[in-house]
Amino acid sequence: MSDHQNNGDSRVETFDARSPSRRRFLKSMGASGLAAATAPAWAQIAQASQQQQNAPVEPQDDGAPAEGEQQIQLTVNGVEHTLNVKPNAVLLDVLRDRLMLTGTKKGCDQGQCGACTLLVNDTAINSCLSLAVSHDGDSVTTIEGLSNGDELHPVQAAFWEHDAYQCGYCTSGQIMSAVAILNDDNIGSDDASVREAMSGNICRCGAYKNILAAVQDARGKMEGAS
């Protein structure tokens, strides 16, 4: 088992959804310990999404793979990673547990819910049914790779605007599916076609009405922008 090379990062974040500038301030200070005494421990969650923007190539497994491991190249949200992985390592787990990209969720681990949906080479797939080693050389986009800094992708903005979630757990998968669908000319733009195409993303909270509204609203904005 190779080291989690980005665990050494001690940057912390306070929970303040409405104040991204404050977050940046804390991070840019490299505020080791600054907020640790007062922030809840969960706030120390890895800064994966920011990391990939700040640090272009990490983590890296430079050494030769250990016995039973294979070395792969994975480009995630535009950042190239060299990783030594065991053949039975699942793409979803590698993203979450190695690269600390925890935005992609595990809802069933059996391809039955869609929470783990992400894009591989711009195609939406279930990452829970994918071996990491099979994706050597592939380009992966996760929810963390959608926004441009603090500027949300139109689909993210529309989900926020339309309250297209409740608990938020299926949301990453819903958004990744929606992005893929909106970029796919083969999928009809009518409500029924969107509902069918999105049916691989279960929302147990039942926010389907708002999700559809968000997807259709984002469609208009993305078309307007292009």
């Binding site: 949906t117 195609t123 049914l129 994918s130 071996l131």
Partner: protein, 327 residues
């Protein structure tokens, strides 16, 4: 998942030679069946041969009018291919009715052919299951057998349905499976590919150890044929068929010239209903002729405690599909 060795193949020959006759080896394509079953410990390959980089992604029209599909063509790509949509509508519709957008993006043509059953007693790892543990019995026959259990082609050893929609369309169209194996290449008629459970449900198909599907070649489409797939289930999407029908018909006015009928969700293999087709040929388009054919298709069906409704439901899948296509 338990540990396994992993090798990526660069050519079908290399894949076959890596796999060899090792019964503990498995080919990995889209992975939507294999990895699911490895995760729940039902399949325990010691060697996984990844065939995803093989050059088997083409859909070609052959000179004789047939269509050759590479093993790795995804369900999405196949469903959207122009010629499939126009000349094999039933196949496109069947594919799009199956699974989900994401799963279809991964699942391949060959992998879909190789889908395993959804029977909970197969998947739980402990119940009696002749497929998983030959000779142990079939827990489903006297157990809970509503949604993924068959009424056609069952035996006292296994009653699980074949879960594929794609294969039902292929059974109606007619196709040939090309395989590459340790002893070279050969072709298998699609209708002979999947095996009835009989007294050896652990044998699901006609592949010999180590053989790799490289292509599925569809028969030439029927001239002026109309075709469609109708899938009936509980929820409106993302569920295996309770009953489905793949139908192809050609008409001369109101007379049925030719017909192909295959059924899903009700059979232990993709179920071609030859007798129903015979009953349709030469008949006038009418509800009564459709109903008679549907009854013939389901003749000999064996209902179990929770799935007897599949007999009338299978008939309905045929009648409505024919009605829509001939309207």
């Amino acid at each position: 998942m338990r540990e396994f060795d992993y090798a990526r193949a660069d050519s079908p020959r290399q894949a076959v030679s890596t796999h060899g006759s090792n019964e503990q080896a498995a080919y990995l394509a889209g992975g939507t069946t294999l990895l699911d079953l490895v995760k729940i410990d039902i399949m325990r390959p010691e060697q996984v041969v990844d065939i995803n980089r093989l050059d088997l992604n083409e859909i070609e029209t052959l000179d004789d009018g047939r269509t050759r599909i590479g093993a790795l063509v995804t369900n999405t790509a196949l469903a959207r291919h122009e010629r499939i949509q126009s000349d094999y509508t039933v196949l496109s519709e069947a594919l799009l009715s199956g699974a989900t957008t994401q799963l279809r993006n991964k699942a391949t043509t060959a992998g879909n052919v190789m889908q395993r059953v959804r029977c909970p007693y197969f998947r739980d790892g402990v119940s009696s299951c002749n497929k998983r543990e030959p000779g142990s019995g079939c827990a489903a026959i006297e157990g809970h057998n509503r949604s993924v259990h068959a009424v056609l082609g069952t035996s006292e050893h296994c009653i699980a349905t074949h879960p594929s929609d794609m294969c039902v369309a292929m059974a109606a169209i007619g196709a040939t499976v090309t395989v590459e194996g340790p002893e070279g290449q050969r072709e298998i008629d699609f209708l002979d590919f999947h095996l009835l459970p009989g007294d050896a449900p652990e044998r699901e198909h006609n592949l010999k150890p180590g053989e790799l599907i490289t292509h599925v070649t569809l028969d030439a489409p029927l001239n002026n044929g109309r075709s469609g797939y109708l899938k009936l289930r509980d929820r409106a999407s993302y569920q295996f068929a309770l009953a489905s029908s793949a139908v192809i018909v050609t008409l001369d006015g109101d007379t049925i010239v030719d017909a192909r009928v295959a059924l899903g969700g009700v059979g232990t293999k993709p179920w071609r209903a030859h007798e129903a087709e015979k009953a349709l040929k030469g008949q006038q388009v009418s509800e009564s002729s459709f109903q008679r054919a549907a009854e013939i298709a389901m003749q000999g069906a064996t209902p179990y405690a929770h799935n007897a409704f599949k007999i009338p439901l299978g008939q309905q899948a045929i009648v409505r599909n024919l009605t829509t296509l001939t309207a």
